[in-house]
């Protein structure tokens, strides 16, 4: 068994141009030295039935033996307000906020604090280990505490607050339920003795959704799971009605010197700071990217987009496992030589640490520099999809996984690691510890399934196409979703043909528009995958390689977002499927997602459309009476896993030539949820011809064209029988013609 996890790392940036520097941020808790070699990746799938791991060692100027140290990851999001005189300018005070806790009773959690955990001084409002709201003040070795008698409910809004009356020497904690009906009422007020004067600890940040571990403001603890909406800090003693008025207010026209802070999380939604509306300007910064654009306690259902009514979206959903930045120090720096070809690359780390050999890869991509193509062909690294699936724990956490995959779960060494080490951060397929969906994914952390030897879905499968290009001697450039998003069609335009891989599923509007413009401009697009152009995502406006998505209310979803929370915080755009955004994939690439099949994959059978003599360039050397792709590494067929079909009503172009279909998929063919309008039996692939994979070709404007295979399994069939097979032949035929500039 190869140890793929004792050494881990990430490359930053994840995508570099020749001549640019990439830094490898590495960590190991057990290995002190490793042999580090840069490799160009040809095939990342270790399956002995296929080409196996195929990488080419590259010369590099750095010392091969690298020293490693353990660099911990510190997940958990919070807002941090740097210390300022205003935070120690008062004695008596009231704090409060609307909260929607998602894990009350799981462990102690801090909601609002100016607290130092190392010396146990300051004040904090939070939930105790049993879910009661508690307020603690401490100084000079003495601690005062007051807590509610009832635990808060999960996923119910309450106004939660506390006050310290220094003159009376009393503490109070107070709760008012927003909906007190049907057993939900948790409203109460509890008082206890408190101090009459306190000396606040110096140099401690105010923290929302956690508390400071020490005075340095770098370590945090006591992370809270759930939403916080409109937190307030007032230098007076307020009862629940006064606190309610403070928290309900979303603007403060009369400056009130005693209003120390009134945060409005609906401002600067895409950014990493939070805004204070008070005269003190106690703005804060967010760590580990909590989810913004969340409905507040005042959301009334009048809109489902925060851009329409930001004041109803003043909540942030904090998670104790949010993780956007591992914050590791760089271990190795490397400037990519100008002469390097673009491609999939990795730093390979080997060590002999224990019983098992260590071999761990850290992936990065070298892009073809903008405006400097070195080939007429470009292959797109689907970095949006790689990020969306980064460190997926779907099979570990979700009840349906084994039934969906039609067999006992087969887990890799990486899966075994992720089960124990959730601090690496999960994928947009996963739920946080509190059950809410994971909507943000970044590359500033180890991504175990985007590298050679990793789980093959997406990255590994796509390398089968690279392997085929290398095998056939075809030159190519590699470009990435990130680049297409940033620079649009000008990334695609220099190429006569652009190929998208097994699963280009996660697409921003900018990326979609670039492909549309490319195809309209005479470009040739080979889409060799399934379930492509499916989800609408956004890229962070300033942080590279960071995406956001919302699962919305339709589509094949491993979690369902909350009502009113389908708009992206990064951009304000609606998310969900492109189909529900008026752009079914059929319109762009002729076919669109219709189902999954994991029991086995199938061959296609040729249809009359392929027999047109005008398409002899496409079918040359292929027996149209024989099945197309009755072999392959994914289910022994070229049509399978996730599949797409033609649908004229969903926008397949009238000029589409329907070349072949795989429409006899058996009971394992399961339709996507959006394919079923009403409930009835007979929807599975053994009875339903709409569950199928279709192979299509159509010409576009200005001599361009599109060829689509509608199946994830396609590229994993290319190497069958020494690359001499009809899937390989057809792919080669189309590529050859698509690289010929003669108009189609």
């Amino acid at each position: 068994m190869t140890d793929t996890t004792s050494v881990l790392g990430y490359a930053w940036p994840m995508v570099v141009s020749p001549g640019e520097e990439v830094a490898f941020h590495l960590s190991s808790p057990s290995v002190s030295k490793a042999d580090a070699v840069l490799v160009r990746v040809r095939c990342g799938d270790p399956d002995p039935a296929g080409p196996g791991i195929r990488v080419q060692e590259m010369a590099a100027p750095f010392e091969r033996t690298v020293s490693l140290v353990h660099q911990p990851i510190r997940p958990g999001s919070c807002a941090i307000v740097a210390d300022t005189p205003a935070l120690t300018s008062f004695q008596s005070f009231t704090i409060g906020t609307f909260v929607w806790p998602t894990m009350p009773g799981d462990r102690a959690q801090t909601i609002l604090s100016r607290w130092r955990a190392d010396v146990q001084e300051g004040w904090r409002l939070g939930l105790d280990a049993d879910g009661h709201l508690e307020f603690v003040v401490a100084a000079g070795g003495r601690t005062w505490r007051v807590a509610t008698g009832a635990a808060l409910l999960s996923r119910e809004w309450v106004l939660a607050g506390a006050s310290w009356d220094a003159e009376a020497g009393r503490l109070a904690v107070m709760v008012r339920s927003v909906d007190p009906q049907g057993g939900r009422d948790r409203s109460e007020r509890v008082e206890a003795d408190g101090p009459t004067a306190l000396e606040w600890p110096a140099a401690v940040p105010l923290v929302i959704a956690a508390h400071a571990g020490d005075a340095r403001g770098e370590l945090f603890d006591g992370f809270y799971d759930g939403k916080i909406d409109r937190p307030r800090l007032h230098a007076s003693v307020q009862a629940i009605d006064g606190l309610y008025r403070l928290c309900e207010s979303v603007n403060f026209p009369m400056a009130d010197a005693r209003l120390i802070a009134a945060w409005d999380f609906s401002r600067g939604m895409a950014g990493e700071s939070v805004t204070d509306l008070s005269a003190h300007h106690l703005h804060g910064r967010l760590r580990q990217m909590p989810t913004r654009g969340m409905t507040g306690a005042n959301w009334d259902g009048s809109t489902d987009r925060w851009t329409d009514c930001p004041e109803q979206y003043g909540a942030i959903h904090f998670h104790s496992d949010d993780m956007a930045d591992a914050e590791w120090e760089p271990t190795v720096r490397f400037t990519v030589p100008a002469e390097w070809r673009s491609g999939f690359y990795a730093l390979r780390l080997r060590a002999d640490a224990g019983d098992e050999p260590v071999e761990s890869f850290v992936a990065f991509f070298v892009r073809a520099e903008l405006g400097k193509p070195r080939s007429r062909l470009a292959f797109v690294a689907s970095t949006g999809t790689f990020l969306a699936y980064a460190n997926s724990a779907l099979r570990l956490d979700q009840v349906h996984a084994e039934a969906m995959l039609e067999g006992v779960l087969t887990l890799s060494r990486d899966d075994v690691y992720i089960q124990e080490h959730r601090e690496v951060g999960l994928s947009t397929y996963d739920t946080h510890a509190d059950g809410s969906g994971w909507s943000i994914s970044s590359a500033r952390r180890p991504i175990l399934n985007m590298r050679p030897r990793g789980n093959v879905f997406n990255y590994g499968n796509d390398t089968h196409f690279i392997d085929w290009l290398e095998e056939t001697g075809q030159d190519y450039d590699v470009i990435t979703d990130d680049d297409i998003h940033r620079h649009g069609v000008q990334v695609l335009a220099p190429y006569t043909c652009v190929v998208t891989g097994s699963h280009p599923e996660y697409i921003s509007r900018e990326v979609w528009d670039a492909f549309d413009a490319y195809q309209r401009g005479g470009g040739r697009h080979m889409y060799l995958g399934g379930n492509g152009f499916y989800w609408r995502i956004a890229y962070h406006p300033t942080v590279p390689h960071t995406i956001e998505m919302r699962r919305g209310m339709t589509g094949l979803r491993t979690w369902e977002g909350e009502a009113g929370e389908t708009a992206l915080a990064f951009t304000g755009e609606p998310s969900s499927t492109w189909r529900s955004n008026g752009r079914p994939p059929q319109r762009l690439v002729g076919v669109g997602f219709d189902g999954q099949v994991f029991t086995h994959s199938s061959p296609y059978r040729w249809l009359d459309g392929a027999k047109d003599p005008a398409l002899s360039w496409l079918t040359e050397g292929i027996d149209l009476a024989a099945p197309l792709g009755d072999f392959g590494l994914r289910g022994n067929g070229a049509a399978g896993v996730e599949i797409d079909r033609v649908d004229w009503s969903l926008g397949s172009p009238p000029g589409t030539v329907w070349l072949a279909t795989a429409d006899r998929l058996g009971y394992g063919g399961t339709p996507a949820p959006e394919e079923i309008r009403t409930l009835h039996r007979g929807v599975m692939g053994d009875q339903n011809a709409q569950v199928r994979a279709d192979l299509v070709y159509f010409p576009t404007a200005n001599g361009g064209a599109v060829f689509s295979t509608g199946s994830i399994a396609w590229v994993c069939a290319l190497s069958h029988a020494g690359y001499e097979n009809n899937v390989s032949q057809l792919t080669g035929n189309v590529l050859k013609r698509f690289l010929d500039p003669t108009p189609l």
Binding site: V399, A403, V408, L411, Q419, G435, S436
Partner: protein
């Protein structure tokens, strides 16, 4: 929040239906008849409620060797590796897991001719 519940699969399993066990043994990877599909759905969906975790396979050599394990229901807890249960084919592993599950859900031991390893 939409939740999936492991106890939702409730197709009644008849412990006398050894014909379904034989059908699975013949073709662990399918295709399977309607009733065997329902039986498998129940077993796979429920995820071994009598065990400390769901039975899973750990790939020890890609495409060649797998080890039985138990995946805890609580995230963060380590997967239990059952090092004495190593398989050289997925079909063999499927059969072993099926037997464990059948005996757990029916409370009955399989007769000798159905309890052997897959040839």
């Amino acid at each position: 929040m939409l939740v999936t519940y492991p106890e939702a699969a409730h197709w009644p399993i008849d412990p006398d239906r050894l014909d379904l066990v034989e059908e699975f043994r013949r073709q662990p990877r399918g295709p399977h008849g309607d009733e065997l599909q329902k039986l498998l759905h129940r077993l796979r969906w429920a995820g071994d409620p009598d065990q400390p975790g769901r039975y899973v396979l750990i790939v020890t050599q890609p495409g060649k060797e797998w080890m039985l394990g138990r995946l805890p229901r609580q995230r963060g807890r380590p997967i239990e590796l059952m090092r004495n249960h190593v398989f050289t084919s997925i079909a063999e592993a499927e059969w072993e897991v099926f037997k464990l599950r059948w005996e757990a859900v029916t409370g009955r031991t399989l007769p000798p001719h159905l309890s052997e390893k897959l040839a």
